[in-house]
């Protein structure tokens, strides 16, 4: 469309602002990635643009595909936990829990209460460290560099605690079928209490520094809105769907794998469904997790940390699906066992895979700079998409 109905052959094709002739903005293909800081790995996004507006977005994944579903068929159950540590590498401990719980369910083993409490504490700690990285890094994506430093700094505290309890900073491999590997070290609980109070302070800083910032609000409010029904039909889960007003948390609504019903806590939701809401929900959940850990430490039972488990783990024939609320969403394992020492088939249902699959729909019609904020606000881990 031109402002004047002029034969383009007679008229200069160059833009003339005085005559208010619109430029012909034909399609342009822009390649984002595979290396981009907003993607936590190698993720490529091919977007077709009309001017600054995205017409069509096509995510290209698979750069980090490691074939874990195939590999599990050649591993024993204790070996599989080493693999699934590396699916979502920021919250490895939370990945292990549903798999171990599924194997325990098939074997008819129940982990002792103290082991379940330690599992819950470490899962929530993985959530805090994962979300603190998000809280800082999301600021970075809208151009604020200070939150990134704060996020990386504060993330070290829970990571140090995880390391001192499990021996691994990112890949604890600490769960065993029937319990956990070791009890907590001396002084850990006192240190944990101090750190959790520090985390609560840290959340306040993020609330003031980022959420209250008018620039951050301008960049995130009303952008990348996921409608609740469509999000559910896409399989979006976790904080992303809670930010769309869906009051659904597998810690409360799923199978009672961990003693969440023994403590007092709250599921946070936001009605807006935009990038801002996703940030807001994750911030509240970080705070809630710190509070939960303080509760759990108060109620920590004593007793054994391992149930009676046969020396050779053989899982009886059967099938089960166990899902848990990972920091990124619903992480589930459908295990088919044929009575051997290793699984016959494991379907790994990862959260980021479904969360990102809404992206072609979500990115339609938004501007290029917002692509990055929407990407960052969805918060995915590439290992969690590519398995």
């Amino acid at each position: 469309m031109t402002a004047f109905d002029v034969d383009p052959k007679l008229y200069s094709p160059l833009a003339d602002s005085h005559l208010n002739v619109e430029l012909d903005t034909g399609d342009m293909v822009l390649n984002i990635g595979p290396q981009h800081p907003a993607t936590h790995g190698t993720f490529r996004l091919v977007v077709r643009l009309d001017g600054e507006r995205v017409i069509k977005a096509d995510p290209v994944i698979g750069y980090m595909h490691r074939g874990y579903e195939k590999l599990t068929e050649y591993r024993t159950y204790p070996q599989v936990t080493t693999l699934i540590n590396r699916i979502d590498w920021l919250s490895s401990f939370a990945n292990e829990v549903p798999f171990i719980a599924a194997a325990e369910q098939l074997m008819g083993i129940e982990a002792p209460p103290r082991a379940l409490y330690i599992r819950t504490i470490l899962t929530e700690m993985a959530r805090i460290s994962t979300f603190l990285l998000f809280l800082g890094e999301m600021g970075l994506q809208v151009g604020a560099i200070t939150p990134a430093f704060l996020g990386f700094r504060d993330r070290e505290y829970p990571l140090n605690l995880i390391e001192s309890a499990t021996g691994g900073r990112f890949h604890p491999n600490f769960n065993r079928i029937g319990g956990i590997k070791d009890d907590l070290p001396w002084g850990w609980i006192a240190e944990c209490r101090n750190t959790m109070r520090k985390m609560l302070d840290s959340c306040d800083i993020f609330e003031d520094l980022v959420l209250g910032n008018p620039i951050f609000q301008a960049r995130t409010r009303g952008i990348g809105i996921i409608p609740a029904e469509l999000g559910a039909a896409y399989g979006v889960s976790g904080s992303n769907i809670r930010a769309s007003g869906v009051d659904w948390d597998l810690r409360r609504d799923g199978e009672p794998l961990l003693p969440y019903n023994e403590i007092d806590w709250k599921v946070w939701t936001h009605q807006d469904g935009d990038s801002y809401a996703r940030y807001w929900v994750r911030l509240q959940e970080t705070r809630e997790s710190a509070r939960m850990i303080l509760h759990l430490l108060d109620q920590m039972p004593s007793g054994p940390i391992m149930a009676k488990v046969p020396r050779i783990i053989k899982v009886p024939q059967g099938e089960t699906y166990v899902a848990a609320e990972n920091p990124l969403g619903e992480m589930g394992y459908y295990i088919i066992s044929k009575g051997a020492t290793g699984p016959f088939r494991v379907k790994i249902r990862t959260a980021s895979f479904s969360n990102v699959s809404i992206m072609p729909w979500l990115l339609q019609g938004i501007y290029v700079p917002d692509v990055i904020t929407v990407l960052a606000s969805l918060y995915f881990i590439l290992g969690d998409i590519d398995k």
Binding site: T76, W188, G235, P304, P316, Q317, Y334
Partner: protein
Amino acid sequence: MKTRPIVGRAKAGNRSSLASDEITSPGDAVDQDSVADQDSAVVTIDVAELSAEHADLLARFTGEVGADAVIESGVAGRELVVRIEPAAWVSAALACKTKLGFDYLGFVAGIDWLPTPAAGGDDAEGDTSAPVQPKDMTFGVAGSAGRFQVFARVGSTKVARYGITLKADLKESAPHIDSWFSVYPGADWHERECWEMYGFIFDGHPSLRHLYLPHEFEGFPLRKDFPLLAREVKPWPGLVNVEAMPGVDDEEGGD
């Protein structure tokens, strides 16, 4: 580890919360009798309280989809599994979403019931790390008519602990089934993954192309007859390192 005296045998309730010198390690908390009867381990999941719930859900599902579409049903863990006619695959999804309140898509995936081949082929020597799977072909919960099955789980964001797993048999010669894309748009990527991993063709899918693998990739990796090439070319690396360091035998006329 094995020769260490067992000091930390689990004694319920009498240990202080930080007794780190009394830690029970996984290998220690074992009685010899429990090792002896490990093969006769029985699944002791308490599904009795849920069975009424499952029966109710199955009755409602059958009422919506039609009794002739439901072949078999069973319980996997705490989850209801229903095997349905492949022709009713999409109508079942539609009924689940619109009538039964399953608004949330868990996953769509495939199963190959062929027995798992031995790691590194049947003539592999020394590789004892991989589990030995049974050689006969058996089917899991709700059964199967043949080798290939597609299975999917849907859940609900409105009702707690509410989900159903659907299975459908596929012909081995022509594994075709209708796509769920029109009902659950999230099935897009799941079906693309299932197509490239198993070769199942989802009719009606908008663009069935590779998701993870390169576009020129041949074969369907998650089928049981697709060998795990890493184990074919080299035994389990944790077992023995057979690869020479680079540059060690340069006299042979390398570069």
